[in-house]
């Protein structure tokens, strides 16, 4: 049940479709045009209780065209990258552009910002994985977890492996392509005591299959994470420091990035409007973007406007040094694109790093948060209130698991109250960070 994916042939095909669409749009009267196309193929298997649950072969295609007629814009997209469908999309986009209103900021990014060099960033590592081998890995992962004493049930283990090509071109003559791959293995387990059931999970997600954590390690870690939640109590209501584990700290970075994104700023929908140059974090903290890092999760030489990506510094010694802008949002704000159409790529922090033990000692009495739930983050005001689970800490040591409580504050105040960053860096996503210790949050529990 394997299917071959010829990345080079797919790339050539998509490039020809993009070029054809650009030519057609010009012929039909568009003043400018941009086209994105992608194809992704993969396999996903899931197992549960030692048996195969599902095998899924996926192949997703996408095609999106935007045309500009004067300062009017129209867009159309389809999951079909066939010739007829592409042609119909161009016509539909032009039809829409006859109805939309004038937008002086509309249009392509400036031609001089187009990426000139398109280095291979080593993010395409196909995996010649048979269905049987994928099943065996998932089975081994789940078995390692279920073999740990105390695990009573399983939500299963999954392995997915895929690769794809994305192509972007516009009427400046820019045509960029990038191939990529992603492989991941995950396991979710259940344990039970008199108080009830708990579940937790772990996963590994990589570009290069050689870097995938072993199935046994992922399964065993999922079991450990599940078992440590048993016997959870509710913490007392009060004001305490909170240590966010690396996954949750990455979420805080995400909220920050959302608030400096051009789209939120020109809509006045961010608590960081008009704060450029101001101190937001402690002086020892900087946050940078490294889009050209080789082999990293979000590496790309050009952004979704075709603009070259570059190392950005968003927080420089605690101060807000740069917003995160696309060509459009930059025009709306009277600024220049930062090469961030489509978001931030490979965010890294620069700060003195402390061990987990040192951070716990520094915290003394408070809560280590390992899970957050719900959507209680208001990007307009920075108000923050989320459901949480984790561990109660006394005298710098973990005491017992805690659950069914909330942590609340305001992101602006939380950033200012950042008291330490851990060396336990999680490298699985686009944002790499260790734990964050934040002073003085409100915990609502029993």
């Amino acid at each position: 049940m394997t299917q071959a994916f010829d990345a080079a042939a797919q790339q050539a095909l998509l490039e020809s479709r993009v070029a054809a669409a650009l030519a057609q749009a010009k012929r039909l009267g568009a003043d400018a045009c941009e086209v994105g196309a992608s194809v992704d193929q993969g396999i996903g298997v899931s197992v549960r209780l030692g048996e195969v649950e599902s095998v899924e072969l996926s192949r997703d295609q996408g095609f999106a065209v935007t045309v500009y007629v004067g300062s009017r814009k129209g867009s159309a997209s389809s999951s079909d990258t066939g010739e007829a469908s592409v042609s119909a999309a161009v016509e539909k986009a032009l039809a829409i552009a006859r109805h939309t209103g004038e937008d002086p900021a509309a249009g392509l990014a400036p031609a001089e910002l187009m990426a000139r060099e398109l280095p291979d960033l080593e993010v395409h590592h196909p995996w010649a994985l048979t269905t049987d081998a994928a099943i065996d890995l998932a089975l081994a992962c789940e078995a390692a977890g279920r073999g740990v004493e105390g695990i009573s049930n399983s939500d299963g283990a999954s392995l997915s492996s895929g690769e794809g090509v994305r192509v972007y071109g516009n009427s400046h003559g820019f045509l960029g392509s990038q191939r990529g791959s992603r492989h991941s293995l995950s396991c979710m387990l259940i344990a039970e005591d008199a108080q009830g059931m708990q579940r937790d999970y772990d996963y590994s997600s990589v570009r290069d299959p050689r870097q995938l954590r072993s199935a046994e390690a992922v399964g065993a870690s999922a079991a450990e994470r599940t078992l440590r939640r048993l016997g959870a109590r509710r913490p007392a209501t009060g004001r305490f420091p909170v240590l966010f584990d690396p996954t949750q700290a990455a979420g805080l970075v995400g909220h920050f990035l959302g608030a400096i994104a051009g789209g939120a700023l020109y809509r006045q929908a961010s608590f960081l409007c008009d704060r450029l140059g101001e101190p937001l974090f402690p002086e020892w903290f900087s946050l940078v973007e490294r889009p050209l890092e080789r082999g990293a999760m979000a590496s790309a030489p050009f952004d979704n406007d075709g603009v070259y990506t570059r190392d950005n510094t968003f927080i420089d010694s605690g101060r807000l040094a740069s917003y995160m802008l696309s060509a459009y949002s930059a025009r709306r704000l009277g600024m220049e694109s930062t090469g961030n159409a489509g978001g931030a790529r490979n965010v890294r922090l620069q700060a003195p790093l402390a061990s987990r033990e040192a951070l716990l000692r520094q915290m003394g009495r408070g809560v280590l948060v390992t899970e957050l739930m719900g959507q209680g983050v208001n990007g307009v005001t920075g108000d923050y209130s989320r459901g949480a689970a984790g561990f109660w800490v006394e005298n710098g040591e973990i005491q017992y698991p805690v659950e069914e409580f909330t942590i609340a504050g305001n992101l602006g105040q939380m950033f200012a109250n950042l008291a330490g960053v851990g060396e336990d860096i999680d490298t699985r996503g686009s944002i790499h960070t260790g734990s964050w210790l934040i002073d003085d949050m409100t915990i609502a529990g029993s």
């Binding site: 049940m1 549960r48 048996e51 195969v52 599902s54 095998v55 899924e56 072969l57 996926s58 192949r59 295609q61 814009k73 867009s75 159309a76 997209s77 389809s78 999951s79 079909d80 066939g82 999309a89 539909k92 829409i96 109805h99 939309t100 209103g101 937008d103 269905t131 049930n153 939500d155 259940i190 009830g196 059931m197 708990q198 579940r199 009060g238 809509r267 006045q268 929908a269 409007c273 739930m373 719900g374 959507q375 209680g376 307009v380 005001t381 108000d383 209130s385 989320r386 459901g387 659950e403 069914e404 909330t406 942590i407 609340a408 504050g409 305001n410 409100t442 915990i443 609502a444 529990g445």
Partner: protein, 489 residues
């Protein structure tokens, strides 16, 4: 308007589906049988084909102009082949004989040996249609759609000088669905879905707040205009933003909570609904597993999942396996009486499917999902419910929620809430997250209003990465104690 219940409606849906999905590539219903034959490989005991085509349109207003509009066409076929608890799944964005053969053979690779079954003879049941079959995008011209958005902008800006930003959107989706399964199922559905939304930013004395409102359902876009949604949602969004400009910090700790009618029913969706989906209960991973017939909520609490409501966002004439959409009691007077099932989990649990199999698209596998989930009305006067609270929270609108179905912990985040002091609503409070345990929270429902309302048609439910439109509803409710996640401890 909704079509009257009739067999011709089902026939028309099937004719339209054949003309839309099969005819363009020269296929007929016989070719589906051939496709099913490929999926019914050796050892496969059930297979189905799900064919879909969808047209999606969106118009977005910002800064007083409709600057963005988009159009998307999607479609293809998803093929499942099952043996016991195992599922093989493949899909293609082409609906051709070759694609049917290839996806069918790929999916049936899940089993390697065993008997070859033949598909059962087709039975086309007549399902009462729960919504009209018209293409909802066709009723209004582009000019009329733009005018509707500009009206919302004008009304929102005129409503209060503190309104600094207005965005409004109008979206419409038309889906044509055809299901053919080896158990003899042949069913089609034509599904309209429209929505209108307004979001505003209000700024006063350096403080900035958002308000938003919207709604829609399974009906033509023209009905949005006829019902005056531009004015209604523009005014509602501004009202909410102005309330939030006055909001004070919310308290932290355990308090009585009164939930307003309608959209706060996402409490039920999170605290109860997900935990009653068949897959989680078959696997024993839900806090409600094995509790059929037991008390899981206070007396008086009756919760149903109802796909049969006319024109509602979560309604389904048939589900994505071709099973008729149904009214399924989940909790009756506090006793757990039912789960929501698809065919796979119903078969494995020895139960009947309840018409709750849903999938985001042909490229996703179906699973048990909610449709419209709500609590039936009780006897209490909402004023008496508020009057009974010495100090607590009155929450009337929410941003969203989440549940851990295994531990039962759920959260949902208020976007409009007030303090209750001595039985009266006083200051508005900043959005706080409420957290609780599903079965425990349901046991603490102490008063149920007589004012059942359904939400305005904005819900999207996510499960395993798949989003589907849903509805929620409830009367005014009092929970004696829930943890309120404010900042004032």
């Amino acid at each position: 308007m909704n079509q009257p219940t009739s067999v011709p409606a089902a026939d028309r849906a099937l004719d339209t589906a054949v003309a839309t999905l099969l005819a363009p590539t020269g296929l007929g219903l016989d070719d589906l049988d051939a496709g099913l034959g490929h999926a019914l490989g050796a050892g496969i005991d059930f297979a189905d084909l799900y064919l879909q085509r969808s047209w999606h349109e969106s118009w977005v207003l910002e800064d007083g102009e409709v600057k963005e509009a988009g159009y998307n066409i999607d479609g293809g076929v998803g093929v499942r082949a099952m043996t016991g608890e195992k599922t093989g799944f493949a899909y293609s964005n082409q609906i051709t004989a070759e694609a049917l053969a290839e996806t069918g053979q790929t999916a049936s690779g899940i089993a390697r040996s065993g008997a070859r079954l033949s598909p059962q003879a087709v039975a086309v049941p007549s399902h009462p249609a729960r919504y009209g079959a018209e293409d909802p995008l066709a009723g209004l011209s582009a000019e009329e759609k733009i005018a509707l958005l500009k009206e919302a902008d004008r009304i929102a800006r005129a409503a209060d000088p503190s309104v600094s930003q207005v965005s409004a959107s109008l979206t419409g989706l038309y889906e044509v669905v055809l299901v053919r399964a080896s158990d003899g199922t042949l069913a089609a559905d034509l599904r309209p879905l429209v929505r209108f939304n307004v979001s505003v930013i209000a700024i006063r004395n350096g403080r900035r707040e958002r308000g938003s409102a919207g709604g829609g359902g399974r009906y033509p876009m023209a009905r949005l205009r006829d019902e005056g949604v531009a004015e209604r949602y523009a005014k509602e969004a501004v009202r909410q933003a102005l309330v939030n400009l006055e909001a004070v910090d919310a308290p932290a700790g355990q308090l009585p909570v009164v939930l307003g009618p309608g959209w706060p029913g996402i409490l039920l969706h999170e605290a109860v609904g997900h935990g009653l989906e068949g897959d989680f209960n078959r696997k024993g991973s839900s806090a409600f597993a094995g509790r059929l017939g037991e008390r899981v909520a206070a007396p008086g609490v009756t919760v149903v999942d109802d796909a049969t409501l006319a024109d509602r966002r979560g309604s389904l004439t048939i589900d994505d396996e071709g099973t008729r959409g149904q009214y399924t009691p989940l909790i009756e007077d506090g006793i757990l009486t039912g789960y929501m099932q698809d065919k796979l989990n119903a078969r494995l649990m020895g139960m009947a499917p309840t018409g709750n199999a849903r999938r985001e698209s042909y490229a996703h596998m179906p699973m048990p999902r909610m449709t419209n989930t709500y609590m039936l009305a009780g006897q209490d006067d909402p004023a008496d419910i508020l009057g009974s609270v010495k100090r607590g929270i009155y929450a009337v609108s929410f941003g969203g929620g989440q549940v851990d179905i295994t531990s039962g912990k759920f959260v949902f985040s208020a976007s409009e809430a007030y303090l209750i002091e001595d039985g009266r609503i006083t200051a508005p409070v900043k959005g706080a997250t409420l957290i609780g345990n599903g079965p425990e929270a349901m046991g603490r429902v102490s008063m149920i209003g007589h004012d059942l309302e359904l939400d305005t048609g904005v819900g999207v439910c996510g499960k395993e990465g798949q989003g589907v439109p849903v509805g929620v509803g409830q009367p005014t409710l009092k929970l004696d104690e829930l943890t309120v996640g404010g900042t004032q401890s």
